[in-house]
Structure formats: structure tokens, C-alpha cells
């Protein structure tokens, strides 16, 4: 792989690798997520958590010592990040209501970017985005990348509670809160679709490398879909 990387200790039984000089962050992020899935099958790793430009793993000190784990980690990372992105697993359409009640930060984004709210909604819906990785909370998906004019940094201080289904923006990413939780992303809308499917072997609607197209809906349609979902 062409990407440089840097490995640092993270916890007393784990490591973090940062990928440096990334040309295509979406591609790197998806590769990291796919690598995490693969490493997770290896028993010496207790857990493997992909970031977008990083990946962290903790080893089981009962199964491998620090020095050997460090070598194994570097080897795996070195050979696993490829250049070619596999085609999307599937394509999904996700309805989003962008009205202020559901997307309280859209106005701010409009003021900061000088674009009308409608223009920003168009920008969020016209281009398909890809699920980079799952993380933060069960079923939460990082997707990207969004149009430059939509990019807005995280909030200075996170909200204590963000409703389930909220669609947020953080820099070049857009994400969907799968459940009510604290959160620091700028919220521009909300989907009525449940990202968590109860009692299934694969309980999440989204997974790395799924393609998503957002579709704007009004409140009436939002409520109708929500009712349908929860029937």
C-alpha cells in the first residue's frame, strides 16, 4: 500500500495506527473498516476499532505478549490496506426531513456558508455517499464524503442528547444517529428509518461499503414512514 502510517501505543494492551498522507479518505476509511472486520476474527485481538484515518486494536494479554502483538499489528496493517475499493455492497435510499424541528443546525450551516437551506438540502441529496465505517454507537454509520459547501466542524461542546435518526454533519462526513445519545455533530435533519433491526443476527441496516442516497421528505411523509416503521 502507498499510505504511510504511524503506530503508537494506546492503552497498556493495544495500539493505534494513524494513516498519513491520505489521498482519498473515503477509500482509506472503508479499507480500515474491512480490515477491522478481518482482524476481529483473530483470537489474540480483543477488539479492533476502525476510525476514518486510523485503526486501534487491543490484544488479549493472556494470549500474546506486548512485543509480539506490536509486530503482528504492524504486519497486518502493512499488508492489508489496498488501493482498489471494492464495489458497494448494496445501495439504499434513506428519507430525511430537513425541517427546522428535525434539523436545528441547518440554519447555522446556511448562514455560515452563504447558501440557501434548499441549496444545502439539494447538495446533501444529489450525490450518493458511501458508509465508511460503523462506530461511535451501535448502528451509527459514518458516511462520506459530502459536498465541500456542506462541510461544517463539530460543535464545540456536544449536545447531551440527540434524537435517534438525526442526520449530522462533521467536516466531510455525514452520519446518522441510530439511537438517542449525546452527540457533537451539527444536526441538519432526521430520518424516520430505524437503523437498528431488533432481534436479527445482523442487527444493523448499514454496514461498511453500503451506498446511500438521501431523499428529502416533508414532515407529513416523515410521520407516515415513522408510523409504518413502528407498526
Amino acid at each position: 500500500m502507498n499510505t504511510n502510517f504511524q503506530i503508537v501505543p494506546y492503552t497498556e494492551h493495544g495500539f493505534l495506527v494513524r494513516f498519513l498522507g491520505i489521498k482519498d479518505v473515503i477509500k482509506t476509511g472503508i479499507h480500515a473498516a474491512l480490515l477491522a472486520q478481518k482482524m476481529n476474527e483473530v483470537s489474540c485481538w480483543l477488539d479492533v476499532t476502525p476510525g476514518v484515518d486510523s485503526l486501534a486494536a487491543r490484544f488479549d494479554p493472556d494470549k500474546i505478549n506486548y512485543g509480539d502483538a506490536r509486530i503482528a499489528f504492524e504486519k497486518t496493517v502493512c499488508v492489508s490496506i489496498g488501493d482498489v475499493l471494492p464495489p458497494p455492497v448494496k445501495t439504499l435510499e434513506i428519507p430525511v426531513c430537513y425541517e427546522e424541528k428535525y434539523g436545528p443546525d441547518l440554519k447555522l450551516l446556511s448562514e455560515q456558508s452563504g447558501q440557501s437551506e434548499q441549496k444545502l438540502i439539494d447538495l446533501h441529496t444529489y450525490k450518493p455517499v458511501r458508509v465508511i465505517s460503523m462506530g461511535f454507537a451501535p448502528g451509527f454509520a459514518y458516511l462520506g464524503s459530502v459536498d465541500e459547501q456542506l462541510q461544517l466542524p463539530r460543535r464545540r461542546s456536544p449536545r447531551i442528547s440527540v434524537p435517534a435518526g438525526s442526520v449530522g454533519i462533521a467536516d466531510q462526513f455525514t452520519g446518522i444517529y441510530s439511537m438517542q445519545s449525546p452527540g457533537g455533530w451539527q444536526i441538519i435533519g432526521r430520518t424516520p428509518i430505524n437503523l437498528i433491526i431488533p432481534n436479527q443476527h445482523e442487527p444493523f441496516l448499514l454496514q461498511p461499503n453500503v451506498e446511500v442516497r438521501f431523499r428529502a421528505v416533508d414532515e407529513q411523509e416523515y410521520l407516515a414512514i415513522e408510523q409504518e416503521q413502528n407498526r
Partner: protein, 328 residues
């Protein structure tokens, strides 16, 4: 709870307490899907409670936070409580922590308000049975709006399991328990490693962090503990938000620029974008579950090699009493 088969019910909730929930052993290997570790916030106390009854150390327990529940037995039952100091009674007679006791059918177990420490664990012989999500043990996904909210309610019936006991029942006495677990107070020293975004660890930064104290804020929960720095200027000039979100763990101290530091707990998110300044040692993670609002926290920074040694030695020591226990 609401789905339980009544015929197996063993305890009825007369008053649910402030935030009481069933907690099984933590989930491993699902962080890449966004699943937090979960499990008892102080899994060492939960393991001690189970062990005192001869249960597997990871058997499902009832976690009582701050102010405990009142429960009525629906049959004779052996139980034990371990964790935060709290007044407990059965039919009005006081019960000591860390000592198994019996509740007769129709007897009433009253768990009061925790005085030092935040959480106390009720284990019963055979363990509780909690609804299972196939791949995630005890975080039941019932509705996207109350994912974390499996909090006991009035009238809930708790089910008793029929789990095999631990292979070796190790006798725990009060001396060995106090050597496994520090006594709780309102002041806590947590040992920590520098996190990935920790500023260069010169003497300045080290003494700055180590001399500061932090007040536990009331808007804290199993996901995270908000810590208000006391007598510390927020001068992390070199630290900025991460360009992209990255892995965080229980024990990660995230410090948003200009914001309040958050020490992540057992239900904390798996990735985040705020600078990761410190990482609490794995052996000190159970203490995070006992931090209560208004308690005061100090950090002591140790280096990685020392931390590995502490983990090795503490694990050996705890395993001499709780053979299958792991901090990781």
C-alpha cells in the same frame, strides 16, 4: 423484564430505585460495529458478589445506582450485595455487604441510598436472567428510543437463572475482599497513561495534570463522567480536535477544546473526535463506575511499561481469589 415468564419470577419490584438495571458480562469484540463494552460499570464488585454465591463471575446481576430498589421475594432466595456502601435490610433487619443472606418467600429486601461509591450489585444464586440480543448479550434492542433504558420499573418481575456454579468455589473473606478492592471515599486517584493526543509529556504538563483536581458533574452516567477541572487553566494550546473520529475506550479522557473533559464509562461510545488526553489504566476502570456527583478525582500519570506491569500483577492477585476474572 416485561417479557419475563412469570412462573420463573423470583423477585418483584415494589419500588425501582433511581437507576436500577440488569447487567450481564461485558461484550467483547463488537466495537467495530459500534457496540460499547457494557456490563456492570464496576465489574470487579459484580464479580465479587457472584463469587460469594458460587456463581460464575460474569452471571447477570442487578446494578443499583445511587438509590436502590425495594424488592419482594417470590420464593426463598440466597443473595449477596457488593460495591458502594449502602444501608440494606431484609424485613427491617440490617444486612451486611459482602455476606450472603437469605430472603424468605414474601420477604422484603430494601436497598437504600449509596453513601460512598455510586453503585452496589445484587447477585442471587444462579444469577438473574436477562433478555438476550443474539450477538450482544444483555443490551436488549427493543426500540431505538430506549436502547440504553432497560431501567427497572414498578411491578417488573425478575427471573432467576439456573446457571452452573463456578468450577472452583474460592472462599472469600473480608480480608481478601478488601485486598481486591480499595475502600471507597469521595476522593479518587486514577492512574492513567497519556492518550494519543496528549500534549508532549514534559514535566510541565505532567505536574499540571497531576496537581489538578476534577469535580464529578451531576450529568454523568454509564456512558461518561463529566469532570470539571478545578484550579487548572485550560491551556492545551497544541491540542485540537481530531481531523477524523478515532477509537475511544472506557477510561479515555476526552477533552474538547474549551469544553469540559469527559471520562468515558462502560457504555461509552466506541469512536469520537475530541482529543484523547489520558487513558485510565485498565485495572482502575472499575473505579470509574463508583464515581458519584461531587466526588473529586485526581490523575497520576504512569508510563506504558509500568502500566503493563501493574496490569500483570493486579490480574494475578485478583485471579488468586477470582480465578476467571480479567480486567480487560
Amino acid at each position: 423484564m416485561r417479557d419475563f415468564v412469570p412462573s420463573k419470577a423470583i423477585l418483584k419490584v415494589l419500588s425501582p430505585g433511581l437507576q436500577t438495571s440488569l447487567q450481564g458480562s461485558h461484550r467483547a469484540g463488537l466495537r467495530h460495529q459500534g457496540f460499547p463494552s457494557g456490563g456492570p460499570a464496576d465489574h470487579l464488585s459484580a464479580a465479587i458478589a457472584n463469587s460469594l454465591l458460587g456463581n460464575e463471575i460474569g452471571a447477570t446481576v442487578l446494578e443499583c445506582s445511587m438509590s436502590g430498589p425495594t424488592l419482594q421475594a417470590m420464593g426463598d432466595i440466597r443473595a449477596v450485595l457488593s460495591g458502594a456502601s449502602v444501608d440494606v435490610s431484609v424485613d427491617g433487619i440490617p444486612i451486611a455487604l459482602d455476606e450472603p443472606f437469605t430472603i424468605k418467600k414474601d420477604g422484603i429486601l430494601k436497598i437504600g441510598a449509596c453513601e460512598t461509591g455510586l453503585r452496589v450489585y445484587l447477585a442471587i444464586e444462579g444469577g438473574f436472567v436477562a433478555p438476550l440480543l443474539k450477538r450482544a448479550q444483555v443490551m436488549p434492542i427493543t426500540d431505538r428510543r430506549n436502547f440504553h433504558q432497560q431501567i427497572l420499573q414498578n411491578g417488573d418481575l425478575l427471573m432467576q437463572g439456573d446457571l452452573p456454579g463456578a468450577e472452583t468455589l474460592v472462599a472469600l473473606d473480608n480480608n481478601s475482599i478488601s485486598s481486591l478492592r480499595p475502600s471507597y471515599s469521595h476522593d479518587w486517584l486514577l492512574r492513567a497513561l497519556p492518550g494519543p493526543e496528549c500534549p508532549p509529556l514534559g514535566e510541565d504538563f505532567r505536574s499540571l495534570i497531576q496537581s489538578a483536581s476534577f469535580d464529578v458533574q451531576s450529568d454523568s452516567n454509564r456512558m461518561g463522567v463529566r469532570l470539571m477541572p478545578y484550579s487548572l487553566q485550560d491551556n492545551f494550546d497544541k491540542v485540537s480536535d481530531l481531523a477524523f473520529s478515532g477509537a475511544v475506550y472506557p477510561g479515555t479522557l476526552q477533552w474538547p477544546v474549551g469544553g469540559t473533559p469527559i471520562l468515558l464509562g462502560c457504555d461509552g461510545q466506541t469512536t469520537g473526535g475530541y482529543p484523547r488526553i489520558l487513558q485510565v489504566l485498565t485495572v482502575d476502570l472499575p473505579l470509574i463506575g463508583q464515581l458519584r456527583p461531587k466526588d473529586r478525582v485526581w490523575f497520576q500519570i504512569v508510563d506504558n511499561q509500568e502500566a503493563q506491569e501493574i496490569l500483570r500483577i493486579r490480574t494475578l492477585m485478583v485471579q488468586s481469589a477470582l480465578p476467571n476474572f480479567t480486567f480487560c
